[in-house]
């Protein structure tokens, strides 16, 4: 059983005990523990179940590579699934729960899958659920979804906050081991702006555990001094708990800082995502130990040799009294010696190499350890924890020669450099035959904008495992002056690649050799994929799910592709690796969202009158990023009733519309008239000063893009109104043409949309209201329709446009935005006696439809040209050119068969559903019913007391009076007659009073 040792533990503080729980059971640990070390210290070897077969799973590793140790952590608003035990620091009161089992971790019904493992091979889903076809959607998928997935989805709103921060540096060094520290010392002394980041809470990496001597002192002392020296450098920023998650083009590095994971609820942001722009990146990310593939290597208690060493040295945790070592290299002997130093028993070191004669094996022998050369593990005994191992010869087929009782197995299959950051932007790898590892190819790095290397890999991340050489590499890569720090560490004898143990293992053993313990991918699955024709490592990955678990195959990928290469009888470099993609380890969704949540999830644009709308029952409608009042609800009133009330009041008394959101762009200069003639389909250069003209804008392809009233302000300046959603787009469109195409035209534009609060005052009493405010002559004679005046209205600096989108007598008044609210209040006060009442966007929409006015986005959808909408009157015949003119002359655009705008009136007075199609005789080539038109706008008109609609119909204007069929839901058909789209006040008498 695993337990806490009486002495030692360089990271734990025994004076600070912490209590936590696992599956509701109270447990104890110490400050400095990870959840993994705390659980192991309490003999919790089994911590979860695997994904597919629900096999018992224990902690394998001690760092970011851990595939098994995943728990749900926290409660309520702080619950998060899949938290990695090995990288989560213990805190007081932590509540953890194991995952992927039912009803309990100890007894799991899903473990039945394990019994049927031979019927659940790689690619099982693809093979089994093909037929019958309907069964996938209705039977298999729901069942699989029910049983799939690790962890529970959080149900509560996240209580924590998150943020971004932008940073810039000449050099970012990723990894705070001795390589990173040596590089930071060297680079820092040159005065560069340097960041050194470390994903864990501690500096020093492996060297401090492996008792390396640096510059005559213990590595731990050297690390302490180095950190102090670096902290003294103004130009270097140090960060622990900060993981470089991904490297992108131009030195853009995402760094994930876990600020308060270990102090939940202390008011600090939980995570911060640093968006770093780095001149250069040095990866000192170390290496990850590989497991060995032997039968039963997934049983709790089988761990990486380096992790066993970490638990003993860092946290004083024994994996068990008796630990068998199995290895193909010298490094694992360090674990044997560390266990001995802790007073524990190592029954045997099983070395797959025919001969182990290096300094470390000799040191082990000298301390009385049994070294079994040329052997491997045939099988691990036990189910929920290791009880023993049986030995076999590595060269054989797995005949069991001897059984050794033990509590744990420490395995080492060699090391894989952490090349993720190196590879994210295209850095290439080479296969190092001697060390059996892919390591960075310095000749083919990721390159920056200048074509030079953007990343440099140093130390173990560069494939260098010897501490002395690591320091030399780090020092020189960072441009260090003078001699590099020197280290004393024994020479390791060469390792021997071992991909299957024993090498001749038969099917029964291969089915129990786990490559990916989280997703349950075994040696036999990869071999099966190869037999079935999978040659690409990327395809094999997806077929078998190898390396697709939440650990992204950090310990399994190299072993898997070696097995694949062997099965395909080709070299490992020919197989290659799968693509390394960010993030290096999962980052929280909160960190990705940053500050964007709640009120500041996205910008919400507010007009100066927004506050009034809010307190007067506004039923909001999003229009772009604006919120506009759809209508104003009075007590107990429904939306439909409110809209009808607002329309009736506007038609009979006077209404106010907050039109501030309309785009307003000033266009000025000697060439401004010529420019606007190109932008609009009609003539704007001839518009007299003081007048307004409705205009249409098209794209180069002829499609209607925006509309609005253009105002001639002075001899050389115009004000262009755009739709609410079009203001920024049209301003950009103007600048695009001016900057890129007509750069020699003398025209300036300015988007002054937000400078003005604008109110439409519409209805028979509109003039009386303005006259009461006083200060400007708004009489019919002095101020005709489609003109504008500037002056002081009721004490406000105002520009009044006599334009009408409602068909009523109407003035649109623009005042400075800062005075908008005061002006609105003044209108309401002065208008009381005239029955003034604000109206919302829906009333505006219906009133314009009653008048047959088109709306961009309703009657247009990017495929409609002005001619379709009978807007030929707004298209100049005199102009030699305008944007869209040429396109509108193309045969399909000029075709008389295009669908054209008409009004539609249902025979029963009801409302046709929006978007309904009018059917025609026959079917098309696909067997679908032919169509001849569609509804673009449809409303109940309170003015007319019936449904009205507009639509586009083939030859529509020539077919007045015809009745069309509009099939709607439930097989019903709505019949509607083609009519003139102007339903109300056809002569326009109401607006010209």
């Amino acid at each position: 059983m695993s337990t806490r040792l009486q002495k030692g533990g360089r990271l734990i503080d025994r004076t600070k005990p912490l209590s936590f729980s696992f599956n509701g059971k109270r447990m104890r640990g110490f400050a400095g523990d990870t959840l993994a070390s705390a659980l192991l210290g309490q003999d919790q070897m089994m911590v979860g179940r695997s994904f597919k077969y629900h096999r018992p799973r224990g902690v394998i590793a001690s760092g970011a590579e851990e595939p098994n140790g995943l728990v749900g952590l926290g409660q309520g608003g702080r619950f998060e699934p899949n938290q990695r035990l090995t990288t989560t620091e213990l805190f007081e009161g932590a509540e953890t729960a194991s995952q992927n089992h039912w009803p309990s971790l100890e007894f799991d019904v899903g473990a039945i899958n394990d019994r049927f493992a031979r019927f659940l091979p790689g690619g099982f889903y693809y093979k089994t659920f093909m037929f019958p076809r309907f069964a996938w959607k209705h039977v298999f998928e729901p069942v699989i979804r029910q049983s799939a997935g690790l962890g529970r989805v959080p149900q509560n709103r996240d209580e924590d906050r998150y943020e971004y921060a932008y940073a810039f540096a000449d050099l970012v060094i990723v990894g705070g081991g001795i390589a990173g520290l040596a590089a930071a010392l060297a680079a820092g002394r040159q005065g560069k702006r340097v960041w050194l980041i470390e994903q864990s809470a501690h500096w020093g990496g492996r060297a401090v555990v492996d008792a390396v001597q640096i510059e005559g002192t213990e590595a731990s002392d050297w690390v302490k001094d180095a950190v102090e020296a670096i902290e003294g450098m103004e130009n270097v920023t140090l960060r622990t708990r900060t993981m470089a998650s991904g490297l992108y083009d131009h030195g853009y590095l995402l760094m994930y800082e876990r600020i308060a994971d270990h102090t939940p609820g202390d008011g600090r942001p939980r995570h911060r995502l640093w968006r770093m722009r780095a001149g250069h990146v040095i990866t000192a990310t170390g290496a990850i130990e590989r497991p060995l593939s032997f039968a039963g290597n997934d049983i709790p208690g089988v761990m990486l040799a380096s992790a066993v060493r970490d638990y003993v040295v860092n946290w004083a945790v024994s994996p068990g009294d008796r630990t068998v070592i199995v290895t193909n290299n010298d490094d694992a002997y360090r674990t044997a010696l560390a266990l001995l130093d802790a007073g524990l028993v190592v029954p045997a070191i099983i070395d797959a190499r025919p001969e182990a004669k290096g300094p470390l094996p000799e040191a082990a022998r000298a301390r009385g350890l049994r070294v079994v050369e040329g052997h491997g593990i045939a099988k691990v005994k036990g189910s929920k924890r290791v009880t023993g191992v049986s030995l076999c010869v590595q060269a054989g087929e797995g005949a069991e020669l001897e059984t050794i009782s033990c509590d744990a197995v420490a395995m080492s299959g060699g090391w894989s450099p952490v090349v993720h950051l190196w590879s994210h932007c295209g850095g290439k790898l080479i296969w190092d035959e001697a060390q059996a590892m892919f390591r960075p190819d310095a000749k083919r790095p990721a390159t920056g904008a200048d074509g030079a290397a953007m990343v440099t890999a140093i130390g173990s991340a560069n494939g260098i495992l010897n501490a002395h050489e690591v320091l030399a590499d780090a020092h020189s890569a960072a441009g260090g002056k003078g001699a590099a720090p020197g280290a004393v560490c024994g020479e390791d004898a060469p390792m021997m690649p071992v991909w299957i143990m024993p090498q001749g293992a038969g099917p029964a053993l291969r089915m129990k050799m786990w490559l990916d313990p989280q997703n349950d991918v075994k040696v036999s699955d990869v071999q099966l994929a190869a037999r079935e024709g999978y040659e690409s490592v990327e395809h094999t990955k997806r077929y078998t799910t190898l390396g697709m678990a939440t650990d992204q195959g950090k310990i399994s990928n190299i072993n898997g592709l070696a097995v694949l290469s062997d099965a395909l009888n080709r070299g490992i470099p020919e197989t290659g690796t799968t693509t390394f993609r960010p993030p290096y380890t999962p980052i929280s969704m909160g960190a990705i969202a940053g500050e964007a949540r709640g009120e500041i999830f996205q910008p919400l644009r507010k007009t100066p009158m927004h506050g009034w709308h809010e307190t007067h029952g506004a039923h909001w409608e999003p229009v772009g990023q604006w919120r506009r009042a759809y209508c104003y609800l009075r007590h107990g009133e429904g939306v439909h009733d409110a809209v009808n009330r607002e329309i009736r009041n506007t038609r009979n008394a006077v209404g106010l519309l907050d039109a501030s959101t309309l785009g307003k762009i000033i266009v000025k200069g000697p060439d401004a008239g010529r420019f606007l003639d190109m932008l609009y389909t009609n003539m704007m250069s001839t518009l007299p000063v003081g007048k307004c003209r409705y205009g249409l804008m098209c794209s180069e392809n002829g499609f209607l893009s925006d509309d609005g009233v253009v105002v001639r302000l002075t001899e050389d300046s115009w004000l262009c109104h755009t739709t609410t959603g079009g203001a920024e787009r049209i301003h950009g469109w103007m600048e695009d043409w001016l900057q890129c195409e007509w750069w020699d035209w003398k025209v300036y534009t300015a988007n002054v949309t937000e400078e003005y609060a604008q109110v439409a005052i519409a209805g028979p009493n509109a003039r009386k209201l303005l006259e009461k405010l006083g200060g400007m002559d708004v009489s019919r004679e002095a101020f005709p329709a489609m003109e504008w005046r500037e002056g002081t209205l009721g004490g406000f600096r105002a520009r009044i446009y006599r334009i009408s989108f409602s068909g009523e007598l109407s003035y649109e008044v623009a005042v400075p935005a800062s005075e908008g609210r005061a002006f609105w209040d003044a209108l309401l006060a002065a208008g009381e006696e005239f029955g003034v009442m604000p109206y919302g966007t829906e009333a505006m929409h219906i009133m314009r439809a009653e008048k047959g006015f088109i709306m961009i986005g309703d009657e247009t959808d990017g495929t409609v040209i002005p001619q379709d909408l009978n807007l030929g009157w707004a298209i100049s015949k005199k102009k030699p050119d305008y944007l869209g003119k040429r396109a509108q002359e193309r045969s399909f655009m000029a075709s008389p068969d295009r669908w054209k705008l008409v009004g539609l009136e249902t025979l029963d007075g009801g409302v046709i559903p929006d978007g309904a199609y009018a059917v025609a005789e026959g079917v098309n080539a696909n067997g679908q019913r032919n169509t001849q038109g569609r509804v673009t706008s449809t409303y109940f008109s309170p003015t007319l007391g019936k449904g009205i609609a507009m639509g586009l119909v083939r030859h529509g204007p020539d077919r007045m009076g015809e009745v069309l069929d509009f099939p709607v839901d439930d097989g019903k058909v709505v019949k509607a007659r083609i009519v003139d789209p102007v339903f109300y006040d056809k002569e326009g008498e109401k607006q010209n009073v």
Partner: protein, 186 residues
């Protein structure tokens, strides 16, 4: 002109730095040939400063001239002077192609004050503060909206956004300045 109110009517928050809406400020978008003699004269008359060089702001008490683009300046004056200043600029630039537009009411102005002012802004604006020169104006974004800022005093930045998103910008500044979220805690 008591009827005129700024978007947030001067709301403020105190975190590890103090953030406040600074009230109304006269602002004029001025486009034209920045190298012309008339332009230099017009800017001098309006603000008492020279035409700012690229990415610079020339400050003079409650007036300033800021570089916005190769053919655009932002002229800052007291709010009450904006209308007259537009008229004066137009008169001074008569006969030369230009555009002067009063945008005083289209903007919101904020101050971020305190020794760690830049730490609050670092969370929102992709700007390298170490290379931000004295007297530099930076057009950038604050999270999802456009903004511009400059160092207006020791330990103080002034930030300008569009008026309609004033509430959003204040929300950003408030959250970014909350105690405990200092980027470089001592």
């Amino acid at each position: 002109m008591s009827k005129a109110v700024s978007a947030l009517e001067g709301v403020s928050h105190n975190g590890f730095v103090a953030v406040a809406e600074a009230g109304l400020r006269g602002m004029i978008t001025l486009r034209g040939d920045l190298a012309s003699a008339k332009m230099k004269k017009a800017v001098k008359a309006a603000t008492g400063t020279a035409v700012p060089a690229r990415r610079r702001i020339e400050l003079n008490g409650d007036k300033a001239a800021a570089w916005m683009s190769p053919d655009e300046l932002l002229i800052l004056v007291p709010y009450a002077d904006a209308v007259a200043t537009v008229a004066a600029l137009e008169a001074a630039l008569a006969g030369e192609h230009h555009l002067a537009a009063d945008v005083s009411d289209a903007r919101a102005v904020f101050t971020v004050k305190g020794a760690r002012a830049q730490e609050a802004l670092m969370k929102l604006c992709p700007v390298d503060f170490n290379t931000l020169a004295e007297g530099e104006i930076r057009r950038t974004r604050a999270a999802q909206v456009a903004c511009a800022f400059w160092k207006s005093a020791e330990d103080e930045f002034t930030l300008v956004s569009f008026r309609s998103v004033a509430g959003y910008v204040m929300g950003l500044l408030d959250v970014s300045a909350r105690p405990g979220s200092e980027l470089f805690p001592a």
